[in-house]
Each structure stands twice: as C-alpha cells, then as structure tokens.
C-alpha cells in the first residue's frame, strides 16, 4: 500500500514539478527586517503586473548587518535591500554587487524615513529639539550603534542636529558625549528598543519614523516628535552581480520605484523616493532636514565614528565607564 501511494505521488508530482520549473523563475530577496510587511504586500502586487507574473520569490529577513554578512558568506541573493548603504558597500568590496549600483536617479535608494523622538503620552518633558535631550534628568533609550547598524542613523541625526544648531564639528562631538550620558539603555536592535521603551524605560526613544508609524498601526501607544533638524534616512536596494536572473531582478527593483509600489511603502510608514504618492498620509516636512552627506557621507562617518577601536562613539562608550 505504501509503495503504491509513493509511486502515485511520484507520478502525480513529477509533471507538476517539471511544469513548475518551466513556468517559474524564483528570485531570492535578502532584506533587513523592518520592510517585511511592506514586501509582503509588494510581491503579490508585482506578481499581478506583466513583468512579475511568472516570477516567484524566496524571502529572507533579518538584521541588516547580519543579512549583509550572510550574503558575503554565500547566501544566495538576487536582490539585497538593507537599512543603510554601508551594508551594500561591503558587498561591493567582495564583488557581489556592481560598483555602480547607486548610479541611478534614486542613488540606489528605495525608501526613506527620518529619525524621530518617540515620547511618553503628551510629551511631559517637552522634548522637541536635540538640545532638549540634555535637560537634567532626561533619560534616553537608543539601540547600541555597535550592535545595530540602523542605530547609526540616530547618532548621525544627533551629530548633524548639533551642527544645524550652529555647533562646530568638535562641539558637536562634545554634544554627542553629553547626550550619551543620558542614555539609560542600549538595546541591541530597533525593535528591542521599542519593547524597552514600551516596558516603561526612559523618557524618549530615538527611532525611525517608519517604525513609529508601524507601531501605531499595530495599535501600540506610540507618540512621536520629529525634531526640526533631523536626518533623512535612505534605505538602499541592489541587484547582485551573482544573480542568475538579473533582468527579472531588475524588473522587480524597477517596479519598487513605481507609483503603486511607493504608495504601498508609504502606507507602511516609509517616506517614498518619488513624488505624488502620499495623499492622505502625513509625512511632515522639516526645513532643516539633512542627509548623510551633510555629516560627511557613510565612508567617512563609519571610520570616524564607528570604528570599534578608534571611533568617536567607541571612545564615548569607553568613557561612560570612567
């Protein structure tokens, strides 16, 4: 009986498998964790378009840095989408992504966001600017910039915010050190940071607008303030040079920058990279917004601030034990 059913399965399955192989090209998307819900809507939407109708996807989500290292160590990927550009740059160095990956209209970016202050109900400590964070007794929660690549956006937002307030680079570094004295918890990731804050720790949690909006959509009691001067977060995407389905992968990336796709991203809390898709959604403009270029660009920033031995942040962390 068992043998008969096994044969039966083989007979039935084989044509199906063969047909499946002929019809489907499978693209492997390796991404950081926060846009998971967005891609969950984007992929089916793409499959309804002419370019996407014969494509299926395998998806892998995790911490941005870890996903990047996994691809560097051989994880199959046609498309990589990370939290910050250095995670793609490290793949360029390993020749897994083409050097010119960012040479397009969007500079290789697919979504945007800003660093915000998640605050307690009604913002009792009246925290609106970066300087406000230095008020006596203010307790800050931010993910650790050495365990969470994404948390580096927070540090650069604070640093740039100080520059925008008229400080010199040296004074801005001093500001960072002072601000860091108010940090009462450094969770390992952004999501853990939100858990820590919601559990009652701290007066302010440095977060990304998309994460705060996502938490609100999930019904969590999250209020946030966008400081006047804050950093424009830009999340990169690239097709790998090792991809065996480059044209299909490029078609997907192209789709992600179309209006319908950017609208889906916007509905999931991300600021879009194209205009005209945010009707009905609230993404307040900030005149003093700056990009990573304003604080020196990632290459310089990574070395100056986040070198685990000599970086400014490494020293600030070390002096916190003083």
């Amino acid at each position: 009986m068992r043998r008969i059913s096994l044969t039966l399965i083989l007979i039935l399955a084989f044509p199906a498998l063969a047909a499946g192989a002929a019809r489907d090209t499978k693209l492997s998307l390796v991404a950081y964790s926060t846009p998971r819900e967005a891609y969950g809507q984007l992929i089916p939407a793409f499959q309804k378009t002419a370019a996407g109708k014969d494509l299926s996807f395998s998806q892998s989500y995790g911490a941005s840095g870890e996903q990047s290292r996994a691809v560097a160590s051989g994880l199959d990927a046609d498309i990589v989408a990370f939290s910050l550009a250095p995670d793609i740059t490290s793949l360029v160095q390993k020749k897994l992504v083409a050097k010119n990956w960012a040479n397009d209209k969007w500079h290789g970016m697919v979504t945007r966001s800003v660093v915000v202050f998640v605050v307690r109900d009604g913002n009792p400590k009246k925290l609106k600017t970066w300087t406000d964070l230095l008020k006596p007794g203010v307790q800050i929660v931010t993910p650790n910039p050495f365990t969470s690549g994404g948390a580096r956006w927070n540090v650069m937002a604070a640093y740039g915010g100080a520059l925008r307030a008229g400080k010199t680079p040296k004074q801005a570094e001093t500001y960072l050190a002072q601000m860091w004295k108010h940090v009462v918890a450094q969770p390992a990731s952004a999501r853990e940071g939100l858990q820590t804050f919601l559990a009652g720790r701290g007066d302010v949690f440095l977060a990304y607008e998309n994460e705060a909006l996502f938490a609100q959509q999930k019904g969590q009691p999250v209020q946030f303030v966008i400081p006047k001067a804050t950093i424009l977060i830009e999340n990169p995407i690239a097709v790998t040079s090792t991809s065996t389905h480059k044209s299909q992968a490029q078609a997907f990336v192209k789709y992600l920058r179309t209006k319908p796709a950017q609208r889906i991203f916007a509905q999931n809390g991300y600021r879009p990279v194209i205009k005209g898709v945010t009707q009905g959604l609230n993404f307040p403009n900030r005149p003093q917004l700056f990009t990573i270029k304003y604080v020196g660009g990632w290459a310089k920033v990574e070395k100056k601030f986040f070198d685990p031995r000599t970086g400014v942040m490494a020293k600030i962390q070390a002096s916190s034990g003083g």
Binding site: A63, G65, E66, R69, S90, N144, F146, T147, S148, G149, V183, V184, A185, Q186, P187, A188, E192, Q195, T196, A199, G200, R201, F306, D307, P308, R309, Q317, A318, S320, G321
Partner: protein, 268 residues
C-alpha cells in the same frame, strides 16, 4: 540484551567489540561538531585589544561573576526542586515537573520579553529590576533552571531510602542524614548540573539582551559585547574575545570536573 546481561560480571567484557571503531567515530563526531569550529574560531582570532579594553574586561568580569552566582543558586534551588519532585507527592506534580523544562523550550528572546513585562518598570508585581545587574541574574536563573534539577532528579530516584532509614534508626538527625548520607550521593550530580548551568550562563545572549539594557561597564554582558564587535565588522576581535570566554569556561568546567572526581574518589 540477555547476552550482555550475562557478560556483566566480568567488567572487561562490557567493552564494545570494536573499541577502535567506537573511539574513532566518537572522535570524528566531536571533531566535526565541536573541535573544528572552535579551532576555526581560534584561527580567526586577531586583535587581542578587543578583549583587553576596559569595556571588554568589565563585560567579562560581570558575566563570569553573574554566571558563578547563578550556578551556585542553582545548586541549592535546583536540588530543592528535584527533592520536592522526587520525594513529595502533591496535586499537579506532573504539571510542575513539565514546567521545569519550559525555559529550554521558550526562545530566549521571548523569555527576555516576558521577564521585562513581569519585572520591569511596569511590573504588575511591583518588582522592577530591569536594566540593572539583578535583571541579568534573573534572566540567567530562568534559562539555567533545568540543569541541576534534571541531573539530580534521576540520582535521587535511584537513591535507596533504606539508607536513610538506617541512618535514622542509628540516631542521626534529619540534617545529619542529609549531610552525611544523601548529599555525598547526589553531590556529583549537583556538580554536573552546576557545570552545565555555568557554561550556559556564560554564553547566554537572548534572555539577557533585552532586560539588561546593555550599558557598557554597567550591564553589558560579554556575549552582547562580542555581538557588537561582529556588527562593527571586527570579527577578528569578536573571535579573540570568544576564545577568552571559551578558555575561561573550559578552566571552570575542568575545575568542577576535578572536584567531582575528588568527591567520587571512593567510588572508583
């Protein structure tokens, strides 16, 4: 089965028919699963400043001390729980028995979340230890609970109560019976459990990372420190730090093994 039972009286005959093969297979397996990865880790280690920096030393001290304290608390609490489970009969015993293993089944990050909700700033019990060193102890106690219980339990089950009756009939107090009759019998098992609990605590990440707050010099454990090194692209330093943790743990495990041998010296 019958054949091996007959062969039992002669200890030599208990050895397997092909000892070379058994040793070879065990060695191969251990090499693939344990030794090779550890060797690769040591091979990749460079940049010893990653472990000599004040931040690293502080994290290491905190972790080792916390793990030792946790192992010792487990020695007492674990033995007490095992005792209750073996010697007492009460309603819901099977339930409690199953409960002991739960910390193994729960993803450690979930354990961290749960502990944070229960013993954090919004604690319904009014106990807030989150983001302090007490929180690290709590998280480690949670994940290491089963070890001592599960090593001591079978030994207690096997223990002949007639020995205790004999001791009592000779006038020994309950405390003396425990100290001089029961404890020597279960001591090796306690030590095994303590060693396991210590080793687990040293490397624990998930349960601790959320509830500790990861403040360098205050509540940052060494696994979180290593994670930070990896995330910062310094995998050599991370490997170096890991090697130091391993050597330290190995030393402690060897020492516990030594005590165990000493304690059982009369049995051999």
């Amino acid at each position: 089965m019958a054949a091996s039972a007959e062969a039992l009286p002669a200890p030599k005959a208990r050895r397997s028919a092909a000892p070379g093969l058994a040793i070879g297979l065990s060695t191969l397996y251990l090499s693939l699963i344990v030794l090779l990865p550890l060797a690769a880790l040591a091979w990749r280690a460079h940049g010893w400043d990653a472990i000599t920096s004040p931040q690293a030393v502080s994290a290491l001290k905190l972790t080792v001390v916390a793990s030792l304290v946790v192992a010792l608390i487990n020695a007492v609490a674990g033995t007490a729980i095992a005792w209750t489970l073996v010697r007492d009969r009460f309603f819901g015993q099977g339930f409690v028995n199953a409960l002991v293993d739960l910390p193994f089944a729960l993803p450690t990050i979930v354990a961290g979340l749960t502990l944070l909700a229960l013993y954090g700033p919004k604690s319904p019990a009014g106990i807030n230890v989150a983001f302090t060193r007490w929180a690290i102890l709590l998280a480690l106690l949670f994940v290491t609970l089963p070890f001592v219980v599960r090593t001591v339990q079978p030994v207690l089950l096997e223990l002949d109560t007639e020995m205790e009756d004999a001791a009592a009939s000779l006038g020994a107090s309950r405390a003396a019976t425990f100290r001089r009759v029961i404890l020597p019998n279960i001591f090796p098992a306690i030590l095994s459990g303590v060693a396991l609990a210590f080793a687990r605590a040293i490397g624990e990440f998930g349960a601790v990372v959320l509830i500790s707050g990861n403040l360098p010099f205050k509540t940052e454990v060494v696994s979180v420190y290593v994670f930070g090194r990896i995330e910062s692209g310094d995998s050599g330093g991370a490997a170096a730090a890991s090697v130091v943790i391993l050597v330290l743990s190995f030393g402690v495990l060897l020492a516990i093994g030594g005590v165990r041998r000493w304690a059982t010296r009369h049995d051999r």
